[in-house]
């Protein structure tokens, strides 16, 4: 570890797990989201809300360099995690993703057994303990052990959508990341599965910092401590809309006493 990496310029790293400084993300020449400053607190649930196309999912994927997989996607600015800019050239994105896990919009279990779905991540992260125990405890933490304990050898695809999503959460927590990013984890699920996953999030925030993108404002109110509202606006000379961060505050304040008019309009459903 070199000295230059150790002391970043960000403030208050003790309470914040991730800090965004003037982050702009573009697809090719098209800017999806511009100039975001954000301090994501440690040990809390932070929700990103906003209309479609406001760049909230793009920002979320930017937090563990998932955007690297998208052709032509680039990020300007700094995303500071654990005292280091994760976009610095000397940073290993694999290392980043091992400490910042992710749950996706569509449940995406691997075409392997339920057991292997959990064990895969742990194994490539060099887990040396008792694998059976880890699989069981991860499935328990994700509230899906009872449903799967008798069919660990079956394919992960044999589960229902809601179960698959909890399997994917178990997969993410099995590698013990510090942060879990969730990209609209309930949008493909029925209300009962959604409820289960929301309960799960309340448990998980005791151990992990969570960032969740959601379309559903009630869900943001139910699960999050802090909420960031993103919006999109047309820019002069541009063909599309560019997203930006409107307001970031305690969830309660965002929904009851927002500072910005746009936030007020959105949370009261008077949007657009």
């Amino acid at each position: 570890m070199t000295v230059s990496l150790q002391r970043p310029m960000s403030k208050a790293t003790d309470q914040n797990c991730l800090t965004l400084e003037k982050v702009t993300i573009s697809y090719g020449s098209f800017e999806a989201v511009r100039d975001v400053y954000l301090d994501i607190p440690r040990g809390k649930v932070t929700a990103f809300i906003g209309p479609s196309g406001c760049g909230k999912s793009t920002v979320l994927r930017g937090l563990n360099r998932m955007n690297d997989l998208i052709e032509g996607c680039s990020l300007k600015g700094r995303v500071v995690f654990d005292g280091q800019d994760i976009y610095a050239p000397e940073v290993d994105p694999v290392e980043v993703r091992r400490r910042i896990g992710m749950v996706f919009q569509q449940p995406n279990p691997f075409p392997k057994s339920i057991y292997e779905n959990i064990a895969f991540g742990a194994r490539i992260n060099g887990f040396t303990g008792d694998m059976d125990e880890l699989v069981e405890s991860s499935l328990r933490k994700a509230f899906i052990w009872d449903e799967t304990k008798d069919k660990l050898k079956q394919s992960g695809n044999s589960l229902s959508g809601g179960q698959q999503q909890r399997l994917c959460i178990a997969r993410a927590i099995a590698i013990e990341p510090e942060v879990i990013l969730m990209d609209e984890p309930c949008s493909a699920l029925d209300p009962i599965s959604t409820l289960k996953i929301e309960e799960l999030m309340h448990e998980l925030k005791k151990t992990f910092s969570i960032v969740i993108v959601t379309h559903n404002m009630q869900q943001a109110v139910r699960v999050s401590d802090q909420t960031a509202f993103f919006n999109a606006e047309a820019v002069e000379g541009g063909s599309g809309k560019v997203g930006y961060l409107v307001e970031f505050n305690d969830t309660e304040k965002i929904f009851n006493a927002p500072v910005q008019q746009a936030t007020q309009d959105y949370v009261t459903g008077r949007f657009g």
Binding site: L5, I86, V91, D92, I124, E178
Partner: protein, 296 residues
């Protein structure tokens, strides 16, 4: 929970090139890149040699003269160029109507019953039949039986052999091209009282023109370069073509015959024919590619 100190290793995020996983990744990156280079290389080398060895022989006489007798110099491949066109046109005239018709049946009329499944499977098997077997078949069925005016080896026999080879491709591209046409379109035509025949010929087939044409162009290009089905059907001829019911020279058979001759003039003509053939075939492929882009 009182504190949220990093639970696992408080390690740096720094890329560590010494890590086994990173070394392996680098290795495989390089390996796959190296493999791609090996795969692409033959195309380069073949093209370079065909252009150097064949391209320098391109001249007017090459297109207008007959090949020389063994041991003599000069000459051209005029008869073989014409022959390749004749045989390929005969093959297209047979394979395109049959193939498009069969494809129309599979995509538009069949309801996925056992007969359609049988035809589709049969088509896949026919596509897998080695091209030399097509030649053997046409030899046995047409050349040896002398069905065409008592003639044995004929241009038509060669064309039929190539048609057998083209047929599966034409059927498959028609079948798949028609399936891409939105059902709503033909529903619309049927809805205003058009018969199935009118719907298929006026609405569905024209809508699927581009993918079908692309597939057919590729099938023709492939047939034009085929040799194995021709060597004992169309045979070869050192003379100008004498109608379609006589043996005929083709570029591909000329290349085969002249490549293994111990005379330099013949070897050179083989390279020249390769140049002409490759230019035609790659040209057809680029045309097909352009057609496809045009459709998107």
């Amino acid at each position: 929970m009182t504190s949220f100190t990093p639970a696992l290793q408080a390690s740096s995020l720094r890329y560590d090139p010494a890590l086994k996983r990173n070394r392996l990744d680098k290795f495989y990156n390089a390996l796959s890149g190296f493999f791609s280079l090996i795969v692409v290389m033959p195309l380069f080398l073949v093209l370079v040699y065909v252009i150097i060895q064949g391209g320098r022989l391109i001249s007017i006489p090459l297109f207008t003269q007959l090949p020389p007798a063994p041991g003599l110099e000069g000459g051209g491949i005029g008869n073989a160029i014409i022959g390749t066109f004749v045989v390929t046109i005969v093959a297209s005239l047979i394979a395109i109507p049959i193939g498009v018709g069969g494809g129309v049946y599979l995509a538009e009329y069949s309801t996925g019953g056992p007969f359609a499944r049988f035809i589709r499977t049969g088509n896949d098997i026919l596509a897998g039949v080695p091209s030399i077997i097509c030649g053997v078949f046409v030899y046995g069925a047409i050349v040896a039986t002398r069905v065409f005016f008592g003639q044995s080896y004929t241009a038509v026999a060669g064309g039929i052999a190539l048609a057998v080879l083209m047929l599966p491709t034409v059927i498959k591209t028609t079948d798949e091209g028609l399936k891409l046409v939105p059902k709503a379109l033909s529903m619309g035509a049927i809805g205003v009282g058009a018969s199935k025949f009118v719907t298929v010929t006026r609405i569905t087939l024209p809508s699927a023109f581009t993918p079908i044409a692309t597939g057919i162009v590729l099938a023709i290009a492939r047939a034009a370069g085929e040799t194995a089905p021709l060597i004992f059907t169309a045979l070869f001829s050192p003379f100008w073509p004498e109608g379609v019911f006589n043996p005929i020279a083709t570029m591909s058979v000329l290349i085969f015959n002249f490549a293994i001759m111990p005379y330099e003039a013949q070897n050179e003509l083989a390279w020249a024919a390769s140049f002409v053939l490759v230019v035609l075939i790659l040209g057809a492929n680029l045309l097909a590619r352009w057609l496809r882009r045009f459709a998107n």
